[in-house]
Amino acid sequence: MTNKKFKQNTKDYEFGGGNIAEPPMRKRTRGFLNSKNVVPYVFVSPFIISFLILTLYPTIQAFIMSFQRILPGQVTFIGFQNYERIFNPAFFKALSNTTIYTIATVFVLVLVPLILAILLDSKFVRFKTIFRSALFIPSLTSVVVAGIIFRLFFAESESSIANQMIGLFGFDPVSWQYTGWSGMLLMVLIASWRWMGVNVLYFLAGLQNISKELYESADIDGANIFQKFLYITLPSLKPIMVFVTTISIIGGFRVFEESYVLWEGNSPGNIGLTLVGYLYQQGIQQNDMGFGAAIGVIILLIIFIVSILYLLITGGFKRGDE
């Protein structure tokens, strides 16, 4: 900012404010902070500061740590050794689990909330507030508590609720937490149950922003309900869908709690091992922080690449008017 501009602004301010009784020094500081050039920075500073301290610094530190072996009192630089070890069967198992999980959750957590939101927004549904809060409450619940309930619900014994329910349809009891497909199903279920309400909220907000006039003119043109959905609702919701999909992808690759509450770190046959779970297991539970940091860097890269690809494909980088 130029000195001239600064003075100019201060002057404007002094005329407008007329706070003559205060000492000149203080006036100047205040003027400085209130100037149009500075104010934006002041407002964004809490974010910038927290970003620098809580995100950027740890990221850089993790990057450095990924080249080290870290033990109490002994930190040694070991080059790429951590990275050389990463690509082992457990890591690939974690990667495939996480990818399947991400695809499944994105699928469920975009489609179902979209339908629910449209239902909740329509005039045919009664007690909307109750449904809305009922859908939203799970995201406020502690995932640890939810995990215990899910674990008991899907217990191995024949008398568990889930096994009794499938028993009604003539299926044999399933060892839910010990079989590959059902383990994944449980994780996706917990995630869906937990985040459904939040995504419904996003879509509801999007729906309420669609101008009613569009529907009115469609009515005049004789469009039926499906045409209105296809040509008005869906295109108008596209930005929201892109947004929800992006955060679901990022959330999917970062999955940890859903697996942790079910198996606490060691799942049978690694059916519940996720990338972050692997990081936690190796880095913290087994005190191999350098290796854990290297896994973290890889996860960062994966999320980065996938998100950028997705945003490029859906045009997330273009401005709305282009």
Binding site: I49, I70, L71, P72, S157, Y178, N266, S267
Partner: protein, 448 residues
């Protein structure tokens, strides 16, 4: 007035932000223990000591000990704060505190499977040799060695953890088996077949974590690491052992996989309590679980040494456990060590381990003390000769060897070996052990 002080606003926002940050910290880093017990709070000039544990019962035990310490040592009074944290969280926090060099307590309980993590790098725990060595002969040494590295003891044991077999007398009677006739594992298998045929109940269940293999491996005088620290997970004895365990389930069909996958789950407690199985192989400390979670079995359980493996005299193995360590960061290491001796290593401390916690004391010289032989709930629940049995096997208790890679082995056992061999049957014991051993070898090589 339009002019709000922006600076004030900014400070306010930062404060809010800071408060949020603080809140998060407390949640993830466990700034607050789930529960904490304080002993000696009302004493003036008491030295403050902090203690982390993961078991509520241990917390009460140490708080009690601190009260007694203060009565006997008014000149060296302590104010002991014992915080109980969830298992994983406590060990993680302690590791991070030691790694970063600050924030650790004066004393901490460290579980056996986690202990090797704390023996890496420059060890941040205080040696306890000056406390233990003068009385070394009174201890079952195998238990002390578990918490040692290079002949330096870092952990005070909580119990001997002698592995025994608990038989359900009612089921055995129904099947017409005399439990004293079971001397070897072959006898055990025969008895098991009889039990399954007459009662339809399994002789035992096998947990899919290390409790389902380590005791048997150790009894065969093998281990995952030998005495010199060499890696032996896939050696001949271990493959044979896993084949034997597999045969119990898949060949002789006298065993099943433990409901819930381990002996410490709600599902298993319920199953056992309803007389779901005839016997269980587990360390002595499980007495407490019986008393607490399986009350219907009162008076029905009989404790016996493990059946013998062919060519081995080992009657029991020291398994499970928790070592209490004095942390080097502490400003009062000497006092903390003295207190630790008083609480857990002394004769009186060992007697209290039995009377208050129901643990088999690691000092065998207290096994015949009148206080230990005095009636308590454990004698009522089980039978009178618990310690006579221990005395007969005291010289035949095998210990385990820990290495810094033991946590990796245990994790492989939990997630791959037992699952693939016993539950899925898609790998032979040899294949599973070799595959896991290769994974760990790879890690060991790259770390050196």
């Amino acid at each position: 007035m339009k002019k709000l002080s922006l600076l004030g606003l900014l400070v306010l926002m930062l404060l809010i932000l800071g408060a949020c940050g603080g809140g998060d910290d407390a949640e993830t880093n466990g700034g607050d223990a789930e529960e904490s017990v304080v002993a000696g709070a009302d004493l003036e000039d008491a030295t403050e000591l902090s203690f982390w544990t993961f078991a509520g019962t241990h917390a009460d035990f140490y708080a009690d000990a601190a009260e007694k310490w203060n009565e006997e040592n008014p000149d060296k009074a302590i104010k002991l704060t014992v915080g109980t944290y969830p298992f994983d969280q406590m060990h993680n926090n302690l590791l991070l505190a030691l790694q970063s060099g600050s924030g650790a307590p004066d004393l901490a309980d460290i579980e056996i499977a986690k202990f090797p993590n704390f023996l890496k790098g420059d060890i941040q725990l205080e040696p306890l040799n000056d406390l233990i060595e003068p009385e070394l002969e009174s201890f079952v040494e195998e238990r002390l060695d578990i918490y040692a590295a290079d002949d330096i003891y870092y952990g005070a044991p909580t119990h001997l953890g002698a592995t025994v077999v608990y038989y359900n007398q009612e089921i055995m009677d129904e099947a017409g088996v005399d439990i004293d006739s079971i001397k070897t594992w072959d006898d055990y298998v025969d008895a098991g077949k009889q039990v399954v045929n007459t009662t339809g109940k399994p002789m035992t269940t096998i947990p899919t974590n290390w409790y389902g293999i380590w005791p048997f491996v150790t009894q065969k005088e093998s281990d995952f690491f030998n005495i010199d620290g060499e890696f032996t997970l896939d050696n001949e004895e271990n493959i044979e052992t896993l084949e034997f365990i597999n045969s119990l389930i898949n060949e002789h069909e006298i065993a099943e996989i433990a409901p819930g996958g381990n002996y410490h789950s709600e599902e298993f407690y319920g199953f056992m309590n309803e007389e779901g199985q005839a016997s269980i192989v587990i360390p002595m400390y499980y007495m407490k679980d019986f008393v607490e979670y399986m009350p219907d079995l009162e008076g029905k359980m009989q404790i016996r040494p493990m059946p013998l493996a062919p060519g081995s005299e080992t009657q029991s193995v020291a398994m499970g456990g928790t070592g209490t360590a004095v942390i080097s960061q502490s400003e009062h290491t000497d006092l903390a060590k003295e207190f630790l001796y008083f609480a857990k290593l002394s004769k009186e401390g060992n007697i209290r381990l039995w009377t208050e916690l129901g643990f088999d004391p690691p000092r065998w010289d207290v096994w015949e003390e009148p206080e230990v032989r005095a009636d308590n709930i454990y004698y009522e629940f089980f039978h009178e000769d618990i310690f006579d049995i221990l005395l007969t096997i005291k010289d035949d208790v095998a210990g385990i060897n820990l290495s810094e890679y033991t946590p990796d082995v245990l994790s492989e056992i939990d997630s791959n070996i037992m699952h693939n061999v016993l539950r899925e049957g898609n790998q032979t014991p040899e294949e599973a052990l070799k595959q896991s051993a290769d994974t760990i070898r790879q890690k060991m090589e790259s770390a050196n």
